[in-house]
Symmetry: C2
Subunit: 223 residues, 2 copies
DNA sequence: ACCTGGATTTTTGTATCCAATTATCCAATC
DNA sequence: GATTGGATAATTGGATACAAAAATCCAGGT
């Protein structure tokens, strides 16, 4: 049983459906930064009126996935280089905190699961499937979910969503992050050691270390 | 010139007006956790239809100020004890990061301004005015704005908003945080020292240290 | 008195409508 | 040819209307 992935249950409300639809598309990078999202078009696409779509826009805006300006509609957000670095800085301290809190809760089952996820990640990576990105998120997600801090989990997950399109671009270019396996094994080792402070530092460095690699391939950015 | 406080310019859109109205009320604790917010009532209060109010609800929900459930409306959120601690944990690492980034940018002007804000905070505290809470926020805000990280600033500010009602309750009970002056002077000293790592640690400890004091007086909580 | 169930009222979710704002296009001018 | 101005079209913001869901009320039964 993986862990904490969203239930794909049918959306109970039109707004939710619109939100899911748009979030999925934005995560997969189907819209480019700067693209304008016309509420009526999107409403037609999923067969509803503009109102629920507008409400979905608001939610996406507060997660930073789109930008909303009065009378000028909804624009796909995208990150500048600086913003990519900033997002990773924030991730580094939040996931550092999460892993520090998670460390005392680690047990054999958790370590097993992490190894299994890492294995799936490896396989996805070798087959060139961009499923790698999802598996990578899952690896981190297993850890920060273990922190037992719901709000922290939410915030980190939101950051993962924002950088997902760039992770995909990166992955498509370099095809196979070889160093990744080693890095993540190190995180597992740190968790195993039981030294929370050390684990925090390892995670911080891991996250910060990813940013420059990714940034190199994320030129198109900017709104 | 203080620094980074929101322009009270007239709202350009009805949604914005509704948002400002509700956020202000929620920050001041005018609504209690668990209170239900009826969109029509609030719309009537500020003289508009339900639609913009609903959109404001969504924004407030993603900031954690209210809870939105399908077909059951909008409820004032409030924090459990655990959630208060969690929020301070998150604040501690985020503001720690912010102060670390801010430290190299500190100069005499900044130190002067911090002293002035602290002075105003002191005065507000002695007069028992709950303006103390606002000044306290301003003190922190001067520092984290200096980090030069817009997204980080936003996230921290959002957390301040969420805990503001509890800060007010706390302040009303204990009337005068005597230790506060000293604590904040320590932060200024750390900034002055130029040692970013040290400043980060001081800020972390400061923020974490506040939580238990506040938690004691925040019994009514719970959604 | 307390529970139960159904009618009534309230409130929400969504569609549709209208006015106001913004974008686009095209011709006239330099 | 590029630029400007203005008519036209597209799009947004907001109000209203209506159906569906939830909350409330109340009578009848235990």
């Amino acid at each position: 049983m993986p862990s904490s992935f969203r239930n794909p249950q049918i959306a109970s409300t039109a707004e939710e459906e619109a939100y899911n639809h748009l979030q999925k598309a934005l995560r997969q990078g189907l819209y480019k930064p700067g693209d304008r999202l016309i509420s009526e078009d999107i409403a037609a696409e999923i067969g509803m009126s503009r109102m629920p779509v507008r409400e979905a826009f608001r939610r996406l805006a507060s997660e930073g996935l789109v930008t909303l300006r009065p009378n000028r509609g909804c624009v796909v957000a995208g990150l500048t280089l600086d913003e990519i670095y900033e997002t990773f800085e924030i991730r580094s301290v939040l996931e550092g905190l999460a892993v520090r809190l998670a460390t005392p809760r680690v047990n054999a089952d958790v370590l097993d699961e992490l190894e299994r996820v890492l294995e799936r990640m490896e396989r996805a990576g070798q087959s060139g499937s961009s499923d790698w990105v999802v598996r990578h998120q899952e690896f981190h997600s297993v850890i920060f979910n273990l922190s037992g801090r719901p709000k922290l989990v939410r915030q980190i997950a939101a950051l993962h969503v924002v950088i997902e399109p760039y992770m995909r671009i990166w992955f498509d270019y370099v095809d196979k992050p070889l160093s990744a396996r080693e890095e993540h094994e190190n995180i597992i080792k740190a968790l195993q050691s039981g030294d929370a402070e050390h684990a925090e530092k390892v995670m911080r460095d891991h996250v910060l270390g990813t940013a420059p690699m990714l940034a190199e391939y994320a030129s198109p950015g900017r709104r």
